[in-house]
Structures are given as C-alpha cells and as structure tokens.
Amino acid sequence: MQKKLNRSYDSLEEMYEVTERFFLNEDVEPSIRFPVHFVMEELFTNMVKYHPDNSNDILLAINTTDGAVTVSMTDYDVDAFDVTVDRNINTDAPLEERTPGGLGIHLIHKMVDSLEYDYADRCSTITFTKGLNA
C-alpha cells in the first residue's frame, strides 16, 4: 500500500486511518499496530516539523512480508537527518533536569526491529520493520 500525505499535522488522522484499514485487511495484531503507528507518526511529525515550508507530499509505503511489517517513508527535497543515530537521551534524569522534546528518536529505536536511513539527491528515505510475532 502506498499513500501520498500532505505535509501537515492534519494528515496524521488520515495516515492513521489508511494504515489501520491496511492492518485490519492484513490481520495484524493490535500489539504490533501500536508501535508501528507510533513510529510512523513520530517520523512523519519530524518531517513536517523540520521542513514546514516544503510543498512536496510525503510518501508512505507499507507492506507485510517475511513475517514483518515494513514501512518506508520518503521525503523529497530536504536536508539530511539520520534517524538511526542515537541521540543519547538520559531517561533516568530527574524531573528538574528534563526538558520537553528529544524523546521521539529514542522511542523509535526502542520500538522497531530494524531501522535504515538513505539519503541521495536531497531525498530522505527511512525504512523500518516490526516483526509480526514481536
């Protein structure tokens, strides 16, 4: 399944709905759907947040093969941002040392089974997998 999404937080609901329909058709367990939705939304939100003036749609592709959900998100005419690099968030920090933001990439790393980043010709493609039996 492929879907072009307008670069807006308002597209989050559409992304959730089309993906949820795909999961239901593919009989994907709820325990898998939550982390996949979560990672997709974090990636999409980052793409919107860091390139708000870009007029290109964001391409979402999702399929189930080899016992896993594979999701690919492609962003066109953007600067590089490698989401596979660990940002070393201290999740043991006390409340007074914490500031909002920065948790998204850390949580993505916790929830996926694999995460790949490709950047060429100002095009970013992020691909992640989540095992169907995780």
Partner: protein
Amino acid sequence: MFQIDFGDNGEIICCGRLDAAQCEKAQAFMDEIADLQTLDFAELEYISSAGLGVLLKTQKRLVGSGGGLKIINVNNHIHDVFHYSGFHTIFDIEKPGG
C-alpha cells in the same frame, strides 16, 4: 479525535489519540490546572512524544508549586511508552486495577 475535560469526581479525563496535531488543545487545558491532579487515561488509546512533552511541561510546573500529576488507568502500550521514556520515575502512574 482527542478530548480532554473534567470528570464527575474532578479527575481529568483524556479520550482518543493525543498526537502532535492535538497537543495545542491538550496544553491549553493543562495550562489552566493547578495543585495535585489525577489524569484518567482509561479512554486514551495513544500518546506521541509530543504528548509526552505536554505531560512533562505540566508536571514541571505543578511540582514546582507543590503539586503534581497522578496518571491512572494507563493501557499497556502507553505504559511501555512511559517506561521507555523513564516517565515512571517522575510521574505517579497506575495501570487499570491499580
């Protein structure tokens, strides 16, 4: 869809999906509360890292004035998000049934 409002017993009821598109609405509500508050997540299906930011900002403000947030009826998925974020060390969190 995301809804936030006070329940019959003064607790704050959150319903639906707290994603990046809904954080402004959530933050506007949370900016008006004070003291010790209970958030009931029984009907909250989803929270993103942006939603965590709303909780963190509110907790820092409330704790700074002697209050704080207690979060109850947290589903397993959101509980995992809290655990991965280390939020279980800075919030009073309860799963359904205590």
